[in-house]
């Protein structure tokens, strides 16, 4: 196994650890807004780590170019999805007690 393969394996294991810690956090807290901020730990950091580790296993070909397209699409679309979910919860007044406590 070349040096790129071992580097990719290390990155993938790091991404798995990030996803596992994010899921522990989702089960620990029960407030929606804390869950929404923690969810991007899984969606972006873990996803980028595992996909980059997968990218290092191959030489440059159409396979890796397609994986690059998928990474770009997820980087553009995933924060939009999180933003739309949290915005719909905020505009329809979910969890208004918390805002009263702060103000």
């Amino acid at each position: 196994m070349s040096i790129y393969g071992t580097l990719g394996n290390i990155l993938m294991v790091f991404g798995i650890v990030l996803i596992a810690i994010g899921i522990i956090g989702l089960h620990k807290y029960h407030d929606f807004y804390i869950r929404a901020t923690i969810a991007s730990l899984i969606d972006t950091a873990g996803f980028i780590s595992v996909a980059m580790g997968l990218l290092l296993h191959h030489k440059v070909s159409f396979f890796t170019l397609k994986i690059g397209i998928i990474i770009m699409l997820m980087l553009l679309l995933n924060p939009l999805a999180t933003h739309i979910i949290v915005r719909s919860a905020y505009l329809s007044g979910h969890g208004e007690k918390k805002e009263d406590k702060n103000a």
Binding site: K28, Y29, T44, A45
Partner: protein, 169 residues
């Protein structure tokens, strides 16, 4: 014809996308890709851009894009380590607050990129974007002053889209 010449970058990017999906860079694939992307671009232009009156320019220099990507990657891992520390070692549950932040960017496209980058980093989520005010949900608030909040939330991303390109257009 002038619509096509004005935005040749979009057509080039769509043609490369078509060629990667077809897994070949042969000549007939290139011609097919150019025809399909020109038709798609004209549809999108006449359907969406004319209604709002002013069309948005999606211009961005390549140097600023590379700088933004590097700074974004560094910030994602930095703040994910901070979030891991909060999840594993902090016993009382954190209190996320909703703060208002003013941005210096003028262009709509730069504002969109900044809001996207804020949502990408773990710990902050953009809720709404009005004229030049961002409403941000923040997991671990460190200060209440507007200047400190500005520097902590969107300082690195505004520095990446450098001042010269902010003032031009």
């Amino acid at each position: 014809m002038k619509y096509i010449l004005r935005s040749w970058q979009t057509i080039v990017i769509s043609t490369v996308f078509w060629c990667i999906l077809n897994e070949s860079f042969a000549l007939n694939r290139l011609i097919e890709g150019v025809v399909v992307s020109v038709i798609t671009y004209l549809f999108i232009y006449f359907l969406f851009a004319d209604q709002s009156g002013t069309s948005i320019s999606y211009r961005l220099s390549i140097l600023a894009l590379i700088k933004l990507t590097i700074i974004l990657g560094w910030n994602i891992y930095l703040s994910s380590l901070r979030a891991i520390k909060i999840i594993l070692f902090q016993s009382p549950s954190p209190a996320p607050t909703i703060v208002h932040v003013h941005t210096k960017a003028i262009n709509k496209w730069h504002k969109c990129l900044i809001a996207n980058a804020i949502t990408l980093t773990p710990g902050t989520v953009t809720l709404n974007l009005t004229n030049d005010e961002l409403i941000v949900l923040w997991l671990y608030p460190t200060s209440d002053e507007p200047n400190e909040m500005n520097k902590a939330i969107l300082g690195p991303f505004e520095k990446a889209l450098c001042e010269r390109s902010l003032l031009n257009d």
